[in-house]
Symmetry: C2
DNA sequence: GGGACTTACATAACCTGTTATCCAATTTGG
DNA sequence: CCAAATTGGATAACAGGTTATGTAAGTCCC
């Protein structure tokens, strides 16, 4: 019999780290969604990043948002389309460039953001921080280390180098 | 005016932790995929967890796999379907229960796993460990803390408690 | 033993991201 | 000034997960 499962991912250790990170991220978002729902926020959590970016950065184009959020341009097009349907943002051609579409918050969007910043975001922030354990910054630090490392030298390159070094033991 | 921006995104800070974890996980998987491709592994990285689970746990049903991997049952159905098409697993009704479908590795699947365990997994493992920085276990530990915390008390409950405590400052 | 629940899986529809490609507007260079 | 290259965005197709629901097999209980 398989005995106690669960350890399948654990057994893969660092190999499954990617899977594990994704799942944990998903779960965090789902939990945050519950808080948002309780606060009667009329948008899914996934739409908050663009709203926050527009709030802090002011009106900007699709491309700007794409860069600001780190999601691809089609993703931004879809998100902003949904937000526009929800009445939280509006958009129009840029004055100086007919190709660019400038997105800005509507009053409704600004109002929502104001409420969120005052009541909801701090709550989520505090709850997540608490869930992170004694030293909340440490997790973020570890993530940054990993992100930077991947940026600096891809895994494949590291693997190749390690393989070369290990070959004599083979 | 929003003044110094940043604080909207700061407010999102830990809400964005979910997004960040997911994105980092994605990137890790993409990097691992490169290594797998170079090793001529004929499956996407996302299919390795079920293979590894079957390898370590032996033949098991769809439901077992779902629990072992932490993905939903339809997800397992799809994954195993693809693996079966690829000839790496096979399946059949359980002897004692006509509803259950038991999945097991084919010889090809076992062979692939053997090769991976010998050559590829250790490489990925080592590369990821290196990328994680000086103390590779610490990140896993942090993740476990967060996972356990979410399990033990959902964010919404934490938020509710924190909100109650903070109300007198409102 | 036969009807009502329960269980295990399959299927469908959806969500949210991706890459690939197309179109229109702008810029550039001859 | 017009043709070519570039740029900003939209659209389509796909990926990999999810939830919701359907269906067949098993179990319970009168």
């Amino acid at each position: 019999m398989a005995g106690s499962n669960e350890d399948a991912l654990k057994g893969l250790g660092h190999l499954a780290l990617g899977t594990r990170l994704k799942r944990l991220g998903d779960r965090l978002q789902a939990h945050a969604q519950v808080i948002l729902d309780e606060a009667k926020v009329p948008v899914p959590a996934s739409h908050l990043p663009p709203l926050a970016a527009l709030d802090s950065g002011g009106a900007m184009t699709v491309g700007d948002l794409s860069r600001a959020l780190g999601v691809t341009q089609p993703g931004v097009t879809r998100m902003t389309g949904a937000l526009e349907t929800a009445g939280l943002v509006r958009s129009g051609a840029a004055e100086d460039d007919g190709r660019a579409r400038v997105i800005e918050l509507t009053p409704a969007g600004r109002g929502l953001l104001a409420r969120l910043k005052r009541h909801t975001f701090p709550l989520i922030e505090a709850a997540v921080r608490e869930a992170c354990g004694d030293d909340p910054g440490r997790l973020l630090g570890q993530l940054a280390v990993l992100e930077d490392a991947l940026e600096e030298l891809p895994l494949a390159a590291r693997a190749a180098r390690l393989a070369k070094g290990a070959r004599r033991h083979d």
